[in-house]
Symmetry: C2
Subunit: 379 residues, 2 copies
């Protein structure tokens, strides 16, 4: 097994989430907190109930701020390195649920600067094309047009540079080396970039909640070191696990290995082929053996995808799990269920994406929050 | 004698300019080049004739570009760390002469970001106040309102961020450590800043000539490493010596030691007191000895100031030198000549500064070049 590595720019090996929470110093979301969140949201969310969003910092304080009417705001982001796959969409779907249930402002940072800096082969125009494409996928989820601001760093830096300087002045080279593993060969743009990713946590004086995959945590540790000194709250987080790559439980879906991921643009036939061909199976080697021994849902990726996101109905999921474990359901059947679920999700997503072309401007410029943000210089 | 140190942020000890040119790899401006520049400018300039501007890179190529009608542009800057003294004004005066004689565009970068990042005690508002004050002193020199753009980094970053990313991606942490002596405790804003100071050399596709004191040279060495790879010319420089501090030949005038400098805001009485009290003298201990042995113009700071800038007439300067060396002129008389020269210069400067309040906007927003720049996003 490959060595496990979890940084904002690389996830490889088998991710041990319990170990990560200890290493990063985050807290597991316990039953009490999960119930309290569901009560205040007046709704359960399967990403929480099934442990995809499993860890946090200060989520209890966020809920207290909500209860006391102080309120809070949401911040998440996307690094436009290529077309989005289903794993990229999960934090956005979860964020959308939080915005719906709590009626709060949401900031979505598109780190086009970061993705340009990371790869010397990329042109700004290429990154911009990807960014615009990603923004449509995000806009398709239907956030509140007057409470959501989606921005590209290269464009919004005009309003952020003063506060970027304030943040950057508090972070030294020793810290970014220790936190992100930066080396002598790291370019000075990347050394500066952590300041940029931290800024949106300071867009409001309220407490900020960040739903994101746990690999982004180093940025928030740094934020929590410096925020109060600059007159802002330490950012709260709710950390997600990665939807496993089709090919197995290690690492995360990767743009450089198309067989590991289902892209939002994959057509029904491609989805079927990828899942049938690549989805790592917990089934037995032959039908006879499978009928006799049953499948292993602990390693089966199709089952994991149904559990983590695609089968919202707990009764149906339970039945699938039982049937597969008992050998009643064959791998082909299990995969078939996932194929249908994914294709129906993507069909709906693509319809929403088409519609989003008409209203994406409200998130970026025209909506109430976007208009206010373009008039604000942050310092 | 203190150890000599010349970096963009610290100049101490006795500066050995010959050694610096070797260390930095620049060329001494020889007689041929000086005469060629004067011929093309149709005028001599005492800062050149008397060796204050003494070193260069690619000045010959700049002149060739002028002769072949390709043209060139000028770039210089100011770090707004405090009120400006006479030493700060010299590069600006020289730059103004170059613009007048060659009719070229000039960009003046006010590095308010740098000065904020350098000092954790400073607020952005404080730096901004200083910046605006400095800009008036610069505007007072009367640059061409339609060919000059003066900008603060904090404001103009909105148009520079894309190219800042392109530049930053080419510079790694190892290079800024080697070039600027950055350490683990250096903040990530300062690590990024060299990219910002390099950007204006890429404002046009023509060759850029930078008149500046030689302490800024590390930025240009870095620029010359990366410019051609980004599709721009290596920047040309013309390097100035420091006007010596009143107190002697070591280091440069320092804001933290007011007795070392004459500020542009010093009133006539203050100027007289400072020069009489602090200007390091090459005179003898008593009038009798002085009449007998004469003064030493090689160490006398009043004489150096007259030579470097304030006595434009070569005949008068020669006579002063002879009379002082022979003992005919006493230290008090020499200082008196300088006091009158400085006060008359400052009186004119302050009148120009008042007038500049009315036309400073043309450099920053309203002039032809400024208007074009605010419409340009550099990438």
């Amino acid at each position: 097994m490959a060595e496990t590595k979890v940084t904002p720019w690389e996830v490889s090996g088998k991710v041990d989430y319990d170990k990560l929470t200890k290493q990063f110093g985050t807290k597991i979301i316990n039953d009490d907190l999960r119930r309290r969140l569901a009560r205040l949201a007046s709704e359960q969310n399967i990403l929480l109930e099934r442990g995809v969003y499993f860890s946090h910092r200060d989520l209890d304080l966020i809920l207290a701020d909500h209860e006391s009417k102080k309120g809070f705001f949401l911040y998440t982001g996307r690094g436009p390195s290529g077309p989005m796959h289903i794993g990229h969409l999960l934090p956005m779907v979860f964020t959308k649920w939080l915005q719906d249930r709590f009626g709060v402002n949401l900031y979505v940072q598109i780190t086009d600067d970061e993705k340009f800096l990371l790869n010397r082969e990329r042109e700004l125009a290429d990154v911009d094309k990807i960014a615009n494409d990603n923004i449509l996928d995000i806009a398709a989820l239907g956030f509140d047009p007057n409470k959501t601001f989606i921005f590209k760093d290269t464009q919004y830096m005009r309003n952020m540079y003063p506060i970027a300087l304030r943040v950057a002045r508090q972070i030294n080279l020793s810290q970014v080396r220790a936190t992100f593993g930066f080396e002598s060969s790291t370019n000075v743009g990347m050394a500066f970039f952590p300041a940029i990713e931290i800024i949106p946590t300071m867009f409001e004086k309220k407490r900020c909640l960040i739903p994101a995959a746990i690999d982004q945590d180093p940025f928030w540790r740094l934020q929590r070191d410096i925020a109060e000194g600059l007159g802002f709250h330490k950012a709260a987080q709710i950390h997600g696990k990665f939807l496993p790559p089709l090919t197995g439980a290690e690492g995360k879906m990767s743009a450089s290995q198309p067989e590991t991921a289902i892209y939002l643009s994959d057509d029904p036939k491609t989805v079927r082929n990828k899942i049938m061909k690549y989805a790592f199976s917990g089934g037995q080697e032959s039908i006879e053996l499978h009928r006799k021994l049953g499948g292993n849902i602990n390693v089966d990726v199709s089952y994991a995808w149904l559990r983590d996101f695609f089968e919202q109905d707990p009764k149906k999921l339970k039945k699938i799990g039982q049937d597969y474990t008992s050998g009643k359901m064959l791998t082909g059947e299990l995969k078939g269920i996932l194929v249908d679920k994914v294709n129906s999700f993507l069909e709906q997503h693509r319809a929403n994406r088409e519609k989003a072309k008409e209203h994406v401007d409200s998130f970026m410029h025209g909506g109430a929050l976007a208009q206010r943000m373009w008039k604000t210089v942050h310092n």
